[in-house]
């Protein structure tokens, strides 16, 4: 059996510089990532932390920073059913196309028996849909109070 790997691709009418900035900026992430504000100096080996209302939600370490083409960090969730002991890896690849950016998020390297895969399979389409809207329209249309509650649930069903 092959190891699970989650891949999500979205195309955004923007530039790699703007997409990279949004993914690494405290204020921008607070807007499109449902209140989760990222802080890091983004040097390889440096810590990465996402806080929401002062609470640590995600932590990690920078693995690779090849701005504005590639960003990779380890990913340890501390919210919902996750206790901060389960670490996986996120790789973001940005490719400039004619008038848009192809953004590929690959999330893999899960620990055996990890429950994080189910959470992130629900989470990335939410976060990246909101990122696309944020960069194309300046608004974040999606309101996700259930973002937190749904973490870890296997069901695809999201109740508004």
């Amino acid at each position: 059996m092959s190891k699970p790997s989650f891949v999500y691709v979205t195309y955004i009418a923007s530039t790699p510089e703007k997409v990279f900035k949004a993914l690494t900026d405290t204020e921008a992430t607070a807007k499109f990532w449902f209140g989760n504000a990222v802080t890091s100096d983004w040097k390889v080996g440096s810590p990465v932390a996402f806080h929401r209302e002062g609470k640590l939600i995600l932590s990690g370490k920078v693995i690779e920073n090849d701005a504005p083409r590639r960003l990779s960090y380890t990913f340890t969730p501390h919210h919902g059913p996750h206790d901060g002991s389960d670490t996986s890896r996120v790789v973001m690849d940005l490719e400039q196309q004619k008038n848009q950016v192809k953004l590929t998020v690959t999330h893999d390297d899960f620990a055996p028996g990890s429950t994080v895969f189910a959470s992130i399979s629900n989470g990335w389409p939410l976060v990246l849909s909101n990122l696309k809207s944020y960069l194309e329209t300046g608004t974040t249309p999606l309101y996700a109070p259930w973002y937190e509650e749904n973490a870890g649930q296997k069901t695809e069903k999201v109740v508004s």
Partner: protein, 165 residues
């Protein structure tokens, strides 16, 4: 009854209403803008005819409507007249109002043990098509994504055409 296994699933959230997303999926003037220039023709009932035409007017996809439940679910079989040996697949759009937006889930299902190479077409195409649909509904402008079939898929199709000849 044929069983289709969901091989490829793509989810996107769109700032719109279920009715507008439904229209964008079933109206030729909309699909022409975001679906690689293809126009949809769909008879609005279960068992009705479903067609996607290329910009030159030729039929690219031909199938039947399996479920017509506006504005929540459209499910159609997709056959490819240019590759008659390729078994029909089932494409289902689920539309759900959530969190002030619309959750659109595309599920591409197959009834046979389809090789990865043949799945690569949908896996590379759906993100482009549905990203452009989202842009069109949110900004009025589709994306101009240059779409080309993956090389591995073209080779697998070539092998399929040769089989048994």
């Amino acid at each position: 009854m044929t069983t289709f296994k969901p091989n490829t699933v793509y989810v996107t959230y769109i700032a719109s209403t279920p009715e507008k997303v439904w229209q964008a999926l079933t109206d030729a003037e909309f699909t022409r803008q975001y679906f690689g220039g293809q126009t949809v023709e769909v008879e609005p009932k279960a068992g009705g005819r479903f067609v996607m035409r290329l910009p030159d007017g030729s039929v690219n996809v031909q199938g039947r409507v399996v479920e017509w439940s506006p504005p929540h679910r459209l499910s159609c079989t997709w056959g490819f007249p240019q590759v008659p040996k390729l078994p029909e697949c089932l494409v289902t759009y689920d539309i759900e109002a959530v969190g002030g937006a619309v959750k659109l889930t595309m599920t591409e299902g197959h009834s046979w043990d389809i090789p990865e190479a043949l799945l690569s077409g949908g896996r590379s195409g759906w993100p482009a098509i549905l990203s452009s649909l989202k842009s069109l509904l949110e900004t009025g402008q589709p994306l101009a994504i240059k779409m080309a079939p993956p090389k591995e898929m073209l080779e697998a199709l070539k092998a399929l055409r040769k089989e048994g000849n």
